[in-house]
Protein backbone atom coordinates (compact mmCIF):
# COMPACT_ATOMS: atom_id res chain seq x y z
CA UNK A 1 0.00 0.00 0.00
CA UNK A 2 2.94 2.32 0.59
CA UNK A 3 5.36 3.34 -2.08
CA UNK A 4 8.53 1.59 -1.07
CA UNK A 5 11.37 3.77 -2.17
CA UNK A 6 10.32 7.38 -1.98
CA UNK A 7 8.86 9.91 0.36
CA UNK A 8 9.08 8.03 3.64
CA UNK A 9 7.96 11.00 5.72
CA UNK A 10 4.91 11.64 3.55
CA UNK A 11 3.92 7.99 3.64
CA UNK A 12 4.22 7.79 7.43
CA UNK A 13 2.19 10.98 7.75
CA UNK A 14 -0.42 9.62 5.39
CA UNK A 15 -0.68 6.39 7.39
CA UNK A 16 -1.06 8.07 10.75
CA UNK A 17 -3.62 10.60 9.52
CA UNK A 18 -5.56 7.96 7.57
CA UNK A 19 -5.76 5.70 10.63
CA UNK A 20 -6.94 8.61 12.75
CA UNK A 21 -9.57 9.52 10.15
CA UNK A 22 -10.91 5.99 9.86
CA UNK A 23 -11.19 5.53 13.63
CA UNK A 24 -12.88 8.91 14.00
CA UNK A 25 -15.29 8.17 11.13
CA UNK A 26 -16.25 4.87 12.74
CA UNK A 27 -16.91 6.71 15.98
CA UNK A 28 -19.10 9.23 14.11
CA UNK A 29 -21.44 6.51 12.89
CA UNK A 30 -21.46 4.43 16.11
CA UNK A 31 -21.43 6.89 19.01
CA UNK A 32 -24.65 7.42 20.93
CA UNK A 33 -24.36 11.14 21.51
CA UNK A 34 -25.01 13.71 18.78
CA UNK A 35 -22.57 16.28 20.14
CA UNK A 36 -19.83 13.68 20.48
CA UNK A 37 -20.45 12.60 16.89
CA UNK A 38 -20.02 16.19 15.74
CA UNK A 39 -16.73 16.46 17.65
CA UNK A 40 -15.46 13.22 16.11
CA UNK A 41 -16.43 14.59 12.71
CA UNK A 42 -14.09 17.54 13.37
CA UNK A 43 -11.17 15.07 13.47
CA UNK A 44 -12.22 13.51 10.16
CA UNK A 45 -12.54 16.88 8.44
CA UNK A 46 -9.22 18.18 9.76
CA UNK A 47 -7.53 14.97 8.67
CA UNK A 48 -9.04 15.40 5.22
CA UNK A 49 -7.54 18.90 5.10
CA UNK A 50 -4.14 17.41 5.96
CA UNK A 51 -4.51 14.85 3.19
CA UNK A 52 -5.33 17.63 0.74
CA UNK A 53 -2.05 19.26 1.75
CA UNK A 54 -0.26 15.98 1.02
CA UNK A 55 -1.90 16.05 -2.41
CA UNK A 56 -0.46 19.58 -2.85
CA UNK A 57 -3.89 21.21 -3.01
CA UNK A 58 -3.26 24.05 -0.59
CA UNK A 59 -6.20 26.25 -1.49
CA UNK A 60 -8.74 23.46 -1.11
CA UNK A 61 -7.16 22.50 2.22
CA UNK A 62 -7.49 26.05 3.54
CA UNK A 63 -11.06 26.23 2.24
CA UNK A 64 -11.80 22.93 3.94
CA UNK A 65 -10.58 24.29 7.28
CA UNK A 66 -12.45 27.58 6.85
CA UNK A 67 -15.76 26.22 5.57
CA UNK A 68 -16.02 22.77 7.18
CA UNK A 69 -14.18 23.03 10.46
CA UNK A 70 -15.03 26.69 10.88
CA UNK A 71 -18.58 27.12 9.65
CA UNK A 72 -20.27 23.76 9.17
CA UNK A 73 -19.20 22.28 12.49
CA UNK A 74 -20.16 25.42 14.38
CA UNK A 75 -23.52 25.19 12.65
CA UNK A 76 -23.89 21.54 13.66
CA UNK A 77 -23.01 22.22 17.29
CA UNK A 78 -25.08 25.39 17.57
CA UNK A 79 -28.06 23.78 15.88
CA UNK A 80 -27.89 20.72 18.09
CA UNK A 81 -27.49 22.68 21.27
CA UNK A 82 -30.08 25.33 20.44
CA UNK A 83 -32.89 23.22 19.04
CA UNK A 84 -32.66 19.88 20.81
CA UNK A 85 -33.89 19.46 24.33
CA UNK A 86 -31.66 16.49 25.09
CA UNK A 87 -27.90 16.79 24.85
CA UNK A 88 -26.80 13.57 26.53
CA UNK A 89 -26.63 10.01 25.27
CA UNK A 90 -29.67 8.57 23.51
CA UNK A 91 -30.63 4.95 23.19
CA UNK A 92 -32.48 4.98 19.86
CA UNK A 93 -30.24 6.74 17.38
CA UNK A 94 -30.28 3.71 15.06
CA UNK A 95 -32.97 2.35 12.79
CA UNK A 96 -34.76 -0.87 13.56
CA UNK A 97 -33.11 -2.55 10.58
CA UNK A 98 -29.65 -1.09 11.06
CA UNK A 99 -28.07 -4.56 10.90
CA UNK A 100 -28.72 -4.74 7.16
CA UNK A 101 -26.51 -1.71 6.63
CA UNK A 102 -23.40 -3.60 7.77
CA UNK A 103 -23.29 -6.21 4.97
CA UNK A 104 -24.35 -3.59 2.42
CA UNK A 105 -21.46 -1.28 3.23
CA UNK A 106 -19.00 -4.15 3.60
CA UNK A 107 -20.00 -5.53 0.18
CA UNK A 108 -19.67 -2.09 -1.34
CA UNK A 109 -16.24 -1.66 0.23
CA UNK A 110 -15.10 -5.01 -1.10
CA UNK A 111 -16.20 -4.24 -4.64
CA UNK A 112 -14.70 -0.74 -4.63
CA UNK A 113 -11.41 -1.99 -3.20
CA UNK A 114 -11.14 -4.73 -5.78
CA UNK A 115 -11.86 -2.34 -8.64
CA UNK A 116 -9.40 0.29 -7.37
CA UNK A 117 -6.54 -2.12 -6.81
CA UNK A 118 -7.24 -3.76 -10.16
CA UNK A 119 -7.31 -0.44 -11.96
CA UNK A 120 -4.73 1.69 -10.18
CA UNK A 121 -2.55 -0.98 -8.57
CA UNK A 122 0.88 0.64 -8.52
CA UNK A 123 0.37 3.92 -10.27
CA UNK A 124 2.43 6.59 -8.62
CA UNK A 125 1.56 10.19 -7.92
CA UNK A 126 4.08 12.74 -9.17
CA UNK A 127 6.42 13.88 -6.42
CA UNK A 128 5.52 17.23 -4.92
CA UNK A 129 8.95 18.68 -5.66
CA UNK A 130 8.97 17.39 -9.22
CA UNK A 131 5.56 18.57 -10.27
CA UNK A 132 5.15 22.21 -11.14
CA UNK A 133 3.37 24.07 -8.39
CA UNK A 134 0.09 25.35 -9.71
CA UNK A 135 -0.53 28.89 -8.55
CA UNK A 136 -3.90 29.95 -7.21
CA UNK A 137 -4.26 32.23 -10.20
CA UNK A 138 -4.66 29.21 -12.47
CA UNK A 139 -7.41 27.94 -10.17
CA UNK A 140 -9.31 31.21 -10.38
CA UNK A 141 -8.83 31.27 -14.15
CA UNK A 142 -10.32 27.78 -14.21
CA UNK A 143 -13.32 28.75 -12.07
CA UNK A 144 -14.08 31.97 -13.94
CA UNK A 145 -13.18 30.59 -17.36
CA UNK A 146 -14.37 27.17 -18.52
CA UNK A 147 -16.35 26.46 -15.34
CA UNK A 148 -18.20 29.75 -15.12
CA UNK A 149 -21.61 28.21 -15.76
CA UNK A 150 -21.45 25.79 -12.79
CA UNK A 151 -20.24 28.73 -10.71
CA UNK A 152 -23.38 30.67 -11.62
CA UNK A 153 -25.53 27.65 -10.87
CA UNK A 154 -23.79 27.33 -7.53
CA UNK A 155 -24.55 30.94 -6.68
CA UNK A 156 -28.22 30.21 -7.39
CA UNK A 157 -28.05 27.14 -5.16
CA UNK A 158 -26.67 29.28 -2.34
CA UNK A 159 -29.38 31.90 -2.92
CA UNK A 160 -32.09 29.24 -2.76
CA UNK A 161 -30.50 27.83 0.40
CA UNK A 162 -30.56 31.24 2.07
CA UNK A 163 -34.19 31.85 1.12
CA UNK A 164 -35.15 28.34 2.18
CA UNK A 165 -33.45 28.75 5.54
CA UNK A 166 -35.40 31.97 6.14
CA UNK A 167 -38.71 30.34 5.14
CA UNK A 168 -38.10 27.28 7.32
CA UNK A 169 -37.02 29.39 10.28
CA UNK A 170 -40.12 31.61 10.05
CA UNK A 171 -42.51 28.69 10.22
CA UNK A 172 -41.72 27.83 13.83
Amino acid sequence: MVAADLLVAQNIGFGIIALLMIVAALRVVTVKNVVHAALWLVIVLSGAAAQYLLLSAEFVAITQVLVYVGAVMVLFLFGTMLTRAKIGAEADLNNKNWGIAVPVSLLMFGVITWVLIDGFGDERLPNPDEQTQVPIQVLSDDIFGPYLLPFWALSFVLLVAVIGAIVLARKD
Binding site: V2, A25, V29, V44, A48, V60, I112, G121, V157, L168
Partner: protein, 77 residues
Protein backbone atom coordinates in the same frame (compact mmCIF):
# COMPACT_ATOMS: atom_id res chain seq x y z
CA UNK B 1 3.10 8.04 -2.93
CA UNK B 2 0.70 5.81 -4.75
CA UNK B 3 -2.58 7.00 -6.17
CA UNK B 4 -4.45 4.03 -4.80
CA UNK B 5 -3.76 4.79 -1.15
CA UNK B 6 -5.75 8.01 -1.34
CA UNK B 7 -8.46 6.29 -3.36
CA UNK B 8 -8.71 3.50 -0.80
CA UNK B 9 -8.95 5.97 2.06
CA UNK B 10 -11.78 7.62 0.13
CA UNK B 11 -13.45 4.23 -0.32
CA UNK B 12 -13.25 3.49 3.42
CA UNK B 13 -14.76 6.84 4.32
CA UNK B 14 -17.46 6.43 1.66
CA UNK B 15 -18.54 3.03 2.96
CA UNK B 16 -18.60 4.25 6.56
CA UNK B 17 -20.76 7.15 5.40
CA UNK B 18 -23.11 4.80 3.54
CA UNK B 19 -23.44 2.71 6.68
CA UNK B 20 -24.28 5.83 8.67
CA UNK B 21 -26.91 6.98 6.16
CA UNK B 22 -28.58 3.56 6.20
CA UNK B 23 -28.34 2.87 9.92
CA UNK B 24 -29.04 6.19 11.59
CA UNK B 25 -32.52 7.47 12.39
CA UNK B 26 -31.74 11.00 13.49
CA UNK B 27 -31.64 13.52 10.62
CA UNK B 28 -28.60 15.30 12.01
CA UNK B 29 -26.67 12.03 12.17
CA UNK B 30 -27.65 11.20 8.58
CA UNK B 31 -26.37 14.61 7.56
CA UNK B 32 -23.02 13.99 9.27
CA UNK B 33 -22.73 10.71 7.35
CA UNK B 34 -23.42 12.59 4.13
CA UNK B 35 -20.56 14.92 5.07
CA UNK B 36 -18.32 11.86 5.32
CA UNK B 37 -19.39 10.77 1.83
CA UNK B 38 -18.78 14.22 0.34
CA UNK B 39 -15.32 14.33 1.89
CA UNK B 40 -14.42 11.00 0.39
CA UNK B 41 -15.54 12.31 -3.00
CA UNK B 42 -13.31 15.35 -2.53
CA UNK B 43 -10.38 13.11 -1.66
CA UNK B 44 -10.92 11.19 -4.90
CA UNK B 45 -11.18 14.38 -6.94
CA UNK B 46 -7.97 15.81 -5.52
CA UNK B 47 -6.10 12.52 -5.90
CA UNK B 48 -6.99 12.36 -9.59
CA UNK B 49 -6.23 16.04 -9.98
CA UNK B 50 -2.74 15.49 -8.61
CA UNK B 51 -2.26 12.33 -10.65
CA UNK B 52 -3.28 13.93 -13.95
CA UNK B 53 -1.43 17.17 -13.27
CA UNK B 54 -4.61 19.14 -13.90
CA UNK B 55 -6.30 21.76 -11.74
CA UNK B 56 -9.87 20.81 -12.68
CA UNK B 57 -10.21 18.46 -9.71
CA UNK B 58 -9.49 21.33 -7.32
CA UNK B 59 -12.27 23.35 -8.94
CA UNK B 60 -14.75 20.50 -8.57
CA UNK B 61 -13.70 19.97 -4.95
CA UNK B 62 -14.38 23.63 -4.18
CA UNK B 63 -17.83 23.31 -5.77
CA UNK B 64 -18.56 20.20 -3.72
CA UNK B 65 -17.56 22.05 -0.53
CA UNK B 66 -19.89 24.93 -1.43
CA UNK B 67 -22.84 22.62 -2.13
CA UNK B 68 -22.24 20.78 1.16
CA UNK B 69 -22.22 24.06 3.06
CA UNK B 70 -25.51 25.11 1.44
CA UNK B 71 -27.04 21.74 2.31
CA UNK B 72 -26.04 21.91 5.97
CA UNK B 73 -27.24 25.50 6.24
CA UNK B 74 -30.66 24.60 4.89
CA UNK B 75 -30.91 21.56 7.10
CA UNK B 76 -30.36 23.66 10.15
CA UNK B 77 -32.81 26.36 9.08
Amino acid sequence: MLTVQFLLLGAVLFCIGVYGVLARKNAVMVLMSIELILNSVNLNLLAFSSRLGSIDGNTFALYVIAVAAAEVGDMKG
